[in-house]
C-alpha cells in the first residue's frame, strides 16, 4: 500500500501551535512511504509512524528550543532553512527540543527499574541546561525516517569551552550522545546508551557551525548501532567520529495519567 507524504499547507517556523489545535497538529503530518520490493533497513515497530509524530509533537506549554534565536550565526541559519525546506519537500522531520525529555514521552511510563527515581519538574535535559541564548548549546536535529538518519546543526557557545577558544570534548560527546538518543528512539525505540566511542580529530572553534551526521547502521538483538561524523559545513574538516550502541526498550502507556 502506498501512502503519500502530506506537505503542510503552511509551516511558519516561528509560531507554536495554538491552544485550539488538536493533538495531531494540522500543520504537519508524517506518513510512511512504502514501495513494493524495497527492503527497509530493519523490521519497523508497528506503531512506528505514530511514534515519530507523537514524539515530535509540539507541546503547548513547553518551549521548543530547536528554533532560531538571535544568537544563531548566518551559517547556522542558512543551513537550518535549507533543512526546513526539506521538511516540506523530502520527508525530513524537524525534531522539537524541550527542556526535559519528559515532554517527549508524555503519557508513557518508564520501565519499573528505571522509574524508581521519578524526575522532578525542575530537572533539565543536559543539552538544554544553559538558558542564555548563544552561551551553551544551540542545536537543532532533523530526522529522515525513511533512511533512519539525522543531521544535527550545532553552534557551541563560550560556556562549552575546553581548550581555550574551542569546544570541550565532553560537551561534544554529550551532544553526539543526545543526537544518537533521539535518532535511536525515532528509528525504533532505542532508549539507553550501552556503548559510546568517540575519536576526536580536530578542535571545533567556539561560535562556529558543526554538522553532526548520524546513521543507524544496524539493528540486531534489541540493540541499535549508530554512527556519527561531525564535520564542518563544507565537509573539509572532520571534527570527530563516533559510534554508539543503544538498547531498545518499549515504553508502556501510562494509564494512570490523563
Amino acid at each position: 500500500m502506498e501512502l503519500f507524504l502530506v506537505p503542510p499547507t503552511s509551516c511558519p517556523d516561528s509560531t507554536l501551535p495554538q491552544p485550539s489545535d488538536p493533538p495531531w497538529s494540522p500543520w504537519w503530518t508524517l506518513c510512511h512511504l512504502s514501495h513494493h520490493g524495497d527492503q527497509p533497513k530493519s523490521p519497523l515497530p508497528r506503531s512506528w509512524p505514530g511514534q515519530v509524530s507523537r514524539f515530535c509533537q509540539e507541546m503547548k506549554k513547553s518551549k521548543n528550543y530547536a528554533l532560531p534565536n538571535a544568537s544563531w550565526g548566518p551559517d547556522m541559519l542558512s543551513l537550518y532553512h535549507e533543512f526546513l525546506e526539506k521538511t516540506k519537500t523530502s520527508g525530513w522531520v524537524r525534531v522539537p527540543s524541550f527542556r526535559s525529555n519528559r515532554d517527549h514521552i508524555q503519557g508513557f511510563k518508564l520501565p519499573l527499574d528505571l522509574s524508581a527515581n521519578s524526575d522532578k519538574s525542575d530537572w533539565r535535559l543536559f543539552t538544554r541546561c544553559i538558558e542564555r541564548e548563544g552561551q551553551g548549546y544551540e542545536y537543532v536535529i532533523f530526522f529522515q525516517p525513511s533512511e533512519k538518519k539525522s543531521i544535527c546543526l550545532f553552534q557551541p557557545g563560550p560556556y562549552l569551552e575546553g581548550v581555550p577558544g574551542f569546544v570541550h570534548g565532553g560537551s561534544l560527546a554529550a551532544l553526539i550522545d543526545e543526537t544518537f538518543s533521539k535518532t535511536a528512539y525515532l528509528s525504533g525505540e532505542g532508549l539507553l546508551t550501552v556503548n559510546f566511542n568517540i575519536r576526536f580529530k580536530n578542535l571545533i572553534p567556539l561560535g562556529s557551525l558543526a554538522v553532526l551526521n548520524v546513521n543507524v547502521e544496524k539493528i540486531e538483538d534489541q540493540k541499535m548501532y549508530l554512527s556519527c561524523v561531525t564535520q564542518s559545513r563544507d565537509q573539509q574538516t572532520v571534527y570527530a567520529k563516533a559510534s554508539g550502541t543503544f538498547l531498545q526498550m518499549h515504553l508502556e502507556e501510562d494509564s494512570s495519567r490523563q
Binding site: L110, D119, P164, G170, A173, N195
Partner: protein, 232 residues
C-alpha cells in the same frame, strides 16, 4: 633554544598543571585570598564542599582529605576561568581572543548543585586518581537518570586528571553497564595504563559509593601536545 619558545613551553605545561591540576603543595584547602572582585571569580576553587553536596559526597570528601594528611594523596583544585596571563599564553597557540575572554570551563559553569559537583584526589605514587562526582538536576537524559553525555564528560575529565602537562583527548570508549540515577554520587577510579611517547593510555571504572554497583567502564587515549608546534 629561543627564549620565547621556552616561555611558551613553560606556560602550556603550567596551564594544564594549574587548571584541573595540583599545586605543588597540598595544603591549599582554603580558596585563594581575594584581591579584586574579578579575581574572586577567577581564583575560586570549586573542588570544595558547598551546601548542595549530599551527605554521601561530604563523607567521602572527608575520608579522602584524611588520606591527604600524610601526603600520599592530594586534592586537585578546580577553577572556572583562566587568569588573564593564562589566556594570553594560549592566545599565541589558538585563535579568537574575544571568545577566550568570555569562556569558562564547561563543567564549572553551573550554579551550586545544579550541574557537575566533583572533586578529584590524586595518588602520585600509584599514578591514579579518584573522582567523587554528584550529577545535578540539569544533567538529565532519560527522565530520572544521568545523561550518558554528562557521564562521558566526567569520564573525560577523570581520565585527564591522570595526565600531566598539556594534553588533548584523542579517543574515548565507554561501556555503560547500568544507568546512574540523577543526583546520586558516584566514584570514578582512573589510572594511567601505559605511556608510549606522546600517547597516554588510560582507563577508569565508575562505581557506586558502596562499590556494589558498577555503572560503567571506560578507556581513553590522550596525546601530549607538542609545544614546538602550534595547534592550528
Amino acid at each position: 633554544m629561543l627564549r620565547s619558545c621556552t616561555a611558551g613551553l613553560r606556560s602550556i605545561w603550567a596551564l594544564r598543571g594549574r587548571r584541573e591540576g595540583a599545586p605543588r603543595l597540598s595544603m591549599d584547602l582554603q580558596p585563594a585570598r581575594r584581591l579584586f572582585s574579578t579575581e574572586k571569580v577567577i581564583h575560586k576553587d570549586w573542588a570544595l564542599p558547598n551546601p548542595s553536596w549530599s551527605k554521601d559526597l561530604k563523607l567521602l570528601f572527608d575520608q579522602f582529605m584524611k588520606k591527604c594528611e600524610d601526603g600520599s594523596w592530594e586534592r586537585l583544585p578546580s577553577y572556572k576561568r583562566r587568569s588573564t596571563q593564562e589566556s594570553e599564553d594560549f592566545k599565541t597557540y589558538f585563535l579568537d581572543p574575544k571568545l577566550v575572554e568570555e569562556a569558562q570551563l564547561f563543567t564549572r559553569g553551573f550554579e551550586d548543585g545544579l550541574g557537575f559537583e566533583y572533586v578529584i584526589f590524586k595518588n602520585n605514587d600509584e599514578k591514579r586518581t579518584v573522582c567523587l562526582f554528584q550529577g545535578g538536576p540539569y544533567l538529565q537524559g532519560v527522565p530520572g537518570l544521568l545523561h550518558g553525555g554528562a557521564m562521558a564528560t566526567m569520564i573525560d575529565i577523570a581520565l585527564g586528571s591522570c595526565t600531566g602537562g598539556a594534553v588533548m583527548t584523542a579517543n574515548l570508549n565507554i561501556n555503560f553497564k547500568r544507568p546512574v540515577p540523577l543526583c546520586s554520587v558516584v566514584v570514578i577510579n582512573s589510572q594511567l595504563d601505559k605511556l608510549e611517547g606522546r600517547k597516554l593510555f588510560l582507563s577508569c571504572n565508575v562505581r557506586s559509593v558502596d562499590e556494589k554497583t558498577l555503572y560503567s567502564e571506560a578507556t581513553g587515549l590522550f596525546i601530549k601536545l607538542d609545544p614546538e608546534k602550534s595547534s592550528t
